[in-house]
Point group: C2
Chain length 573, copies 2
């Protein structure tokens, strides 16, 4: 490709709209442009990288026995009503009506559509297992689209769905997909971690996420420093532990005046105690009504765990007016004693006694609050977030916390959709059985961003070879020198003819501008030609990542490039 | 690919929902399934063919200097308001609102989005010309989706847009695209005709359509039997001709009783004259009010010409109640004399005199109606459809009429969008100029259907080699014979290793079923292995199209297949 002909609008300045490195560099390198909130144009360079990711995904999926198909973006409401998700999916589901006022949505995921297809076409165990996938544009109407391609509204996803005769078969398929995903992310040149994950609104019994480790990640990965345990913070288990507080006799309840003292640390300071002796009372609203959750003052609620425990589909912190109404007091003075709400408590409270809590009265707290005697709890559970001080739930060693970007997610779905949509088959005994399903997603466009989050420096992107839009950047530095340009043009044709993807910077620009753009674009290998190197019958070859420079004789340049590219293409066994 | 593993649900019976051959065969061969009206799942076999078309399109577009990008499916209303199409596009534009109640549409075409991108990124003549394209899922909310992939609502299109500094440049780009399209459709193995076309709601000054000739085509192609002239019937010009009627003195108007006589032929019979002496009066409604159109009784209105002539965006035949109100008579008795509507007349009426017309009174007509004396016409124009009796507008020879399926359309757009969206650049004199645009569409999913319309027989599809999902079907006919299966498996691996796309029918089915399915799927070459051929060290090779059968020694089979496939890949120069 000739640089001068390409729509490749690089930017010198960092656009103000972009918060994360990948978003900034995707814009600066002319790979994407924003059309509107969370919706992007992929320019030629951006599309090339996207296609590289797609090709790797496709190869490994096919290799793992999955078959590609393509389902519609526009889906009829009836199928979503059948699965029950039309009601519960919320505003992220983009809904609309056609000219005949029939209801549809823009598919954010395709469990319903694929299950509908399979229930119509598959009737016998002989046709199973089936593993089907597509690479397609999806839409989720995110409330806060952000970070460019990391959390857009319109995005490209590989979504796959498997149908097995039973759970044992599904486990094999799950494993095959897990392995395929490991190969895919390795081949993309990503540093990633596989973690146990919450299954969220997709449902299902079991799931793993593939996290690209990057400081800008929205997710927190909790992993053990000793064993193989790793989980999304949302999911990270905490074992019920004995309270570390001293065993004391129960003291009588007492109301104390705490004017303007609201936060846990303020209360602990004011009452000369420690935060772990303060009972934190959080009031949540759910689609099944309000609830109160109690935790140790130094712990934080894990809303995902709480939501799963309560089995509700909506859950959010109660707004101020609800808190006032339920507690008759301002925010900061809620407590469980006398509170007329279902109360749940976190395991972390253990056997703690004589705790401090809000009095449900402005400017007052109660001391010496004790379970059973002073309040009734509907249940104890693991409701909080793991923290630095928690041990690994598997082996007890210390945990570490890293940030990650979710690029893949595999789910063991079970019968959720096959039962809802009645996807059955006849087994080898002629009995009707539900299919056992799995589903497997990869954020194709998100991988492009994640790769940049992991691979960049102050000058720009450093593409791993397998994802690079071009493998080689060819830069003649004396655009006015006829000899240099003649050699460069010939070399360009030779490099192309060898099957190497090369961008020829034929622009009549100063070397500094060409080098700056080249570093920004992140093409792994740069070949510079100028009168000086030509006088030596050589070209200067520079590695974008290491910045190492070598002079390579023109006669062996193409062979050198071929070998080098070959060596940098990651091929896991 | 192993047949037994593939989601390939063939049907013995022709589905009742399918009217055309391609729709029937796409369903029967397990290539597509209907999700809902005009929206289809592409099953693995269907997607393979789609990808073959895409690859040919991509190769030829890139070769012609176009660059691929990818624009969003979801487009903000603001851009369509800027171009003015938000108001005029009608119900085919699928509109919706996001969670913040902002207006969007599912892009049926991308003139606005691409012009918006280019106006933001291109500012100098040095950056032009630019020719950008994408292959993408579109949605048009057709009032009557039909014929499967031929007129669906969700479909896959290649849409390209060019930006030139002036019309001369745009003409070169147009020509390059015209040539690329010719290569694309040739390489797909389609018999097609390029015709002059109406520009429709896209706008622009000049356009050509690429029509695949097939009896089931929705379009009519008019072409000259002598010269190169060819046009869509919608567009086919008719020159103003002298009336062939005898010159007569004008006779006095006279009202005659014609009880129950309504149609042109009834009137002609009843009054013992010929249809060409009957004045047909058609009343149309438009967004600018009702109009009357006069033609010779034996001619038909061309609504596209009428719409363009009147420069209205909506036009349809007036319903009965409007006709009653405007004429004070039942349908069949409308006439221009005393009619209080703008009246336009077709050139075909020429200098005709003493015509018969409706009297605007039930059961009455008027004879000896004459222009100027009895009625005032606002304008004469070419408003009718060409017919068998019309001569070629270029050379005067006879015309022929064929049916076609539009698979490509190239438009010289001009300044319509660049002016509306202010897409300007500075020319080499530093003056601000509007970009001159073109746009170029290919119905990628429609090509799959069109290819089947042209290439099938009673047994099923006959894929042209370049579009075939598999090039070779390998059929062992004694699935229980260990030797046959061993040789077949080995051969399967050898054929695959040679880079040939092969479907291995490893099913434990009778030969008759395998052959029937194979003919239905349309794979160009079938290789049959059985104990009898193996005894001769050979396989039976059959061409799907010619049904010619040959025995080929196993030792030279792979080489034979390679040569044969190579010969059938169409490579226009």
């Amino acid at each position: 490709m000739y640089y001068s002909k390409m729509l490749l609008p690089t930017l010198k300045e960092t656009p103000a709209e972009a918060e994360t490195v990948s978003h900034q560099l995707l814009l600066r390198a002319g790979m994407i442009r924003k059309l509107t909130s969370g919706i992007y144009d992929y320019l030629p360079l951006g599309l090339m990288v996207l296609r590289k990711v797609e090709a790797i995904v496709r190869e490994e999926m096919n290799c793992a026995g999955a078959q590609e198909l393509l389902l519609p973006a526009v889906q009829p409401a009836e199928l979503w009503q059948e699965s029950g998700r039309w009601q519960i999916y919320g505003k992220e589901l983009l809904r609309f009506q056609d000219r005949h006022d029939r209801d549809y949505c823009f598919g954010p995921t395709h469990e319903e559509v694929i299950t509908d297809l399979v229930r119509r076409e598959v009737h016998s165990y002989r046709q199973l297992p089936l593993n089907l996938y597509q690479i397609q544009t999806k839409f989720r109407d995110e409330i806060r689209p952000r970070f460019g391609l990391i959390r857009g509204r319109e995005f490209i996803m590989k979504d796959g769905y498997s149908f097995d005769i039973d759970e044992a078969g599904a486990d094999q398929t799950y494993r095959a997909m897990y392995d395929a995903y490991t190969r895919i992310f390795s081949r993309c040149g990503l540093r990633f971690k596989t973690v146990e994950a919450d299954s969220g609104p997709i449902g299902g019994s079991f799931s793993h996420e593939f996290m690209v480790l990057a400081e800008t990640g929205e997710d927190v990965v909790v992993s053990c420093t000793a064993c193989a345990y790793a989980a999304n913070l949302e999911k990270a288990e905490i074992l019920p532990t004995e309270s570390s507080l001293p065993v004391e006799p129960l003291l009588p309840l007492e109301k104390v005046h705490t004017p303007g003292v609201r936060s846990v640390s303020e209360v602990a300071d004011f009452l000369q105690t420690t935060p772990d002796r303060v009972l934190k009372t959080m009031i949540y609203q759910t689609d099944e009504g309000a609830v109160a959750v109690l935790l140790r003052g130094d712990h934080e609620v894990n809303e995902v765990k709480l939501k799963n425990f309560l089995q509700v589909s909506e859950l959010f912190l109660a707004p101020e007016e609800v808190i006032r109404q339920e507690t008759n007091a301002a925010v900061g003075f809620a407590g469980p004693v006398g509170l007329n709400l279902p109360i749940y408590a976190d395991y972390g409270l253990g056997s703690a006694v004589n705790l401090v809590a809000g009095a449900n009265e402005n400017d007052y707290h109660i001391i010496n609050v004790n379970f059973d005697r002073d309040l009734v709890v509907k249940g104890f559970a693991d409701l909080r977030q793991a923290s630095n001080s928690d041990p690994c739930p598997r082996c007890g060693a210390a945990l570490e916390f890293l940030r990650g970007i979710e690029v893949g997610h595999v789910f063991k779905l079970g019968y959720k959709y096959s039962k809802a949509l009645k996807a059955t088959f006849l087994d080898d005994q002629g009995r009707e059985q539900y299919m056992f399903m799995g589903c497997y997603g990869i954020g194709v466009s998100r991988i492009v961003a994640a790769a940049i989050e992991q691979n960049h420096d102050l000058d720009g992107i450093i593409f791993p070879m397998p994802l690079a839009p071009f493998q080689v950047l060819l830069v003649p530095i004396a655009a006015n020198d006829v000899d240099t340009m003649a050699v460069a043009s010939r070399l360009y044709q030779e490099i192309r003819a060898a099957g190497i993807e090369v961008l020829f910077d034929d622009r009549n620009e100063r070397p500094g501008i060409k080098f700056k753009d080249g570093d920004l674009l992140g093409i792994p290998v740069r070949v510079v030609l100028g009168p000086k190197t030509l006088a030596q019958g050589a070209a200067e070859v520079r590695q974008r990542r290491s910045r190492a420079v070598q002079l390579i004789p023109l006669a062996s340049l193409v062979a050198y490039l071929q070998d080098h590219i070959q060596a940098e293409m990651i091929r896991p066994t």
